[in-house]
Amino acid sequence: MLLIQDVIKRYGPITALDGVSLEVKPGEFFGLLGPNGAGKSTLMSLVAGLRSPDAGRLTLNGRPLSATDPAARAGLGLVPQSIALYEELSAEQNLRTFGALYGLRGADLRARIDEALAAVQLTDRRRDQVKTFSGGMQRRLNLVAALLHRPQLLLCDEPTGIDPQSRNAIFELLEARVRAGLTVIYSTHYMEEATRLCSRIGIIDHGKIHALGTLDELLMRLPFEEEIRFPAGPDTAPLLARLAGQGELTTLDGTHRFHPRADYRLSAFFTQTESLGLPARLFTSQRPTLEALFLHLTGRTLRE
């Protein structure tokens, strides 16, 4: 659906995007994970046709996206990083304005506005000025304003902001829309959001995509640092003999720590414990996270 090839974007001396390539397929919930200044918003703005790249190509359904061709981005919706609403106007007036820009009007526009307001639980506040809304309500309206014209591809640039209040409402709405066929590109610097929502994730930093894939694919790229812990005692003693040679075993404060060899399969571990009649609750494991992956790839943390 969306194809980005070798895109470079500079602001004067700053190279905000440094050869970005990626493809987003229909129906994907694509996450763009990276810290502030990574180039997420810049990439969004290029896709939305707000700017032109200095080099590279962007196409939507095979048609080149450009700042001078509004028709090419008709099937596209943008949720800007800031709350892009007219705060003197009511929720309804905002939606009416944005809908009218897409050529919607009359009964159709009214019906879509009703539907949108209902979807974000703002129906009873529809006539109130946006400036009287809480941050979370504004975020919800900011999101739904980009859906009025029923785009195929929705660009969400950190749509939850720093305000956790409406996070779940936003997540649920987006997940429902994706189930109904919407394609989403979702940028965030919260690994929890990317982990929960996204079917595929690109890790971006300093204008470069450092890794691209499903959550599992990405985590596989971490050197296998899984560690399984279980209490020392007579129950578990037989297990120690069977694990010998399969990895590294240490004991500290009455807890055994097992670091498996790289080619060791977790399923083998559980076959052993089952045959010994050991309950699963004895074992805890430390799964790697995107945060750890980011640190591994860039030497920095996401919060920097």
């Binding site: 046709g49 707000l50 800031s82 709350i83 609403l85 897409y102």
Partner: protein, 447 residues
């Protein structure tokens, strides 16, 4: 066009829901016109002290001097002070020694001394002394001009006396008596009258030209009591333009105030472009089918309409408060208002286009508007300004807008007569907008 109208509608909806902006549009202009009118005394009807304070010390016992004083007191432009008020509230006539300290204390800035030797025999003319503490050139010129007019118009007899005194000194008494007698004889022979009486008048400096108040019949052809100057130079005074204008002072200046107010209002609304940018609204609009051109032209249209509304309110205030005749000129007045509002809006947009931030835009606007208003004639008439400033005036949109208002309200101009002014305003608008749009496209606003 649909997109521009949508954006325009949005801006008006915002205006309607913004109480502060609304009152700025409709109430403040009214208040401002009222206040300015009070400050500048437009159509003042109260009878309180008015005119420029002028102290007069009369040391002469010449009856003509008393007449001069009376004439000055009758002059509207002056508020004549002749008495010194003692601390116990009793009064005595001012003396010349009072004048300087009182001027230093700012009791008045102009004083006239009529000395004992009002008429000397060693020179022609009157000997008067004017003391001044000029605050500005225009006031000084005005005071001197009115003084001269009053003196010459009201007491030409003094000049006759001066002439006689001088003649006596150069010719000597017997020769002057012979001269006077022969003139009197000739006058009596030609126009009739008593030669002895005429000679007496001549010796008193009364050439029958002025305001002689004894019963002497004036020579034929000379009109008794007529203005000396009116006889020397006959001026038929005809006001060609603006004769029927109902509120002349207000008509001339309301346009200037209106322009200044409009400039502030419109550049504030252009600076609001930054607000929309900062809130990411341009991203939203531009990712929708709107383009930069749509945004800019909708803002321009909005500015013009808002400006038009504001000018209408301002002139309505002028109509209600000062009786400016608006209704008889409505179509052309609206036409000039549209062009003036367009030029102002273009100016506001240029400021927003060249400024890196809304603060910078506001600062720059204040600076430019004040300069342009002063130079363009919104504060006082351009014709009072030095030549080179008058030339600069013609580069400002304030000048041409005021010119347009004047043409309509004052000179009752026809459409053809109005066309050049509208053309210039239109030209200014087009040129300024061209630069603004060009700057917007490379400036930070859409980045």
């Amino acid at each position: 066009m649909r997109i521009i109208l949508t954006l325009l509608q949005k801006d008006f909806a915002r205006l309607v829901r913004d109480k502060a902006a609304l009152s700025l549009t409709f109430i403040v202009p009214f208040a401002l016109i009222y206040l300015f009118g009070q400050v500048f005394g437009v159509n003042r009807t109260d009878t309180g002290p008015s005119g420029i304070p002028l102290a007069v010390v009369n040391e002469s016992d010449n009856p003509a001097a008393a007449k001069l004083l009376a004439a000055l007191q009758g002059e509207k432009a002056f508020f004549v002070v002749t008495k010194f008020v003692n601390p116990d509230k009793s009064m005595r006539p001012l003396t010349e020694t009072d004048l300087r300290p009182m001027m230093k204390a700012n009791n008045f800035r102009f004083a006239l001394v009529i000395p004992r030797d009002l008429i000397r025999d060693d020179e022609f003319g009157l000997h008067l002394k004017i003391l001044s503490n000029p605050r500005n050139e225009i006031e000084t010129q005005t005071v001197h001009g009115i003084l001269q007019k009053t003196i010459f118009a009201n007491v030409p007899q003094l000049l006759g006396q001066s002439l006689q005194a001088r003649a006596k000194k150069t010719l000597g008494s017997p020769k002057l008596a012979a001269f006077n007698s022969s003139i009197a004889g000739t006058v009596a022979k030609t126009f009739g009258g008593d030669p002895a009486a005429i000679q007496r008048d001549l010796e008193r400096g009364d050439f029958g030209l002025g305001d002689a108040d004894d019963g002497t019949p004036a020579p034929a052809g000379g009109q008794r009591g007529a203005d000396f100057f009116a006889q020397l130079v006959k001026i038929d005074n005809e006001q060609v333009i603006g004769r029927d204008v109902k509120a002349p002072a207000a008509t001339h200046i309301v346009g200037g105030w209106a322009m200044q107010f409009l400039l502030f209002a419109v550049s504030a609304s252009a600076a609001a472009l930054f607000h929309e940018k900062e809130h990411g609204l341009f991203q939203r609009l531009l990712s929708a089918p709107a383009t930069r051109a749509h945004i800019l032209w909708s803002k321009f249209l909005y500015g013009v309409l808002l400006g038009l509304v504001q000018l209408v309110v301002l002139f309505a205030a002028g109509r209600i408060l000062y009786g400016i005749d608006v209704e008889h000129h409505l179509p052309f007045l609206m036409l000039v208002c549209v062009f003036a509002a367009a030029a102002c809006t273009a100016f506001g947009m240029l400021l927003a286009a060249v400024s890196p931030s809304p603060e910078a835009a506001r600062g720059l606007a204040t600076f430019c508007i004040l300069i342009m208003s002063a130079v363009g004639g919104a504060w006082f008439p351009v014709s009072f300004m030095p030549e080179f400033i008058q030339r600069i005036s013609k580069l400002t949109l304030v000048y041409w807008s005021m010119e347009g208002f004047d043409q309509v309200l004052w000179a009752n101009a026809s459409f053809i007569e109005l066309l050049p002014t509208l053309g210039i305003l239109g030209g200014i608008t087009a040129a300024v907008m061209a630069v603004a749009v060009w700057r917007f496209n490379r400036g930070p606003l859409f980045d």
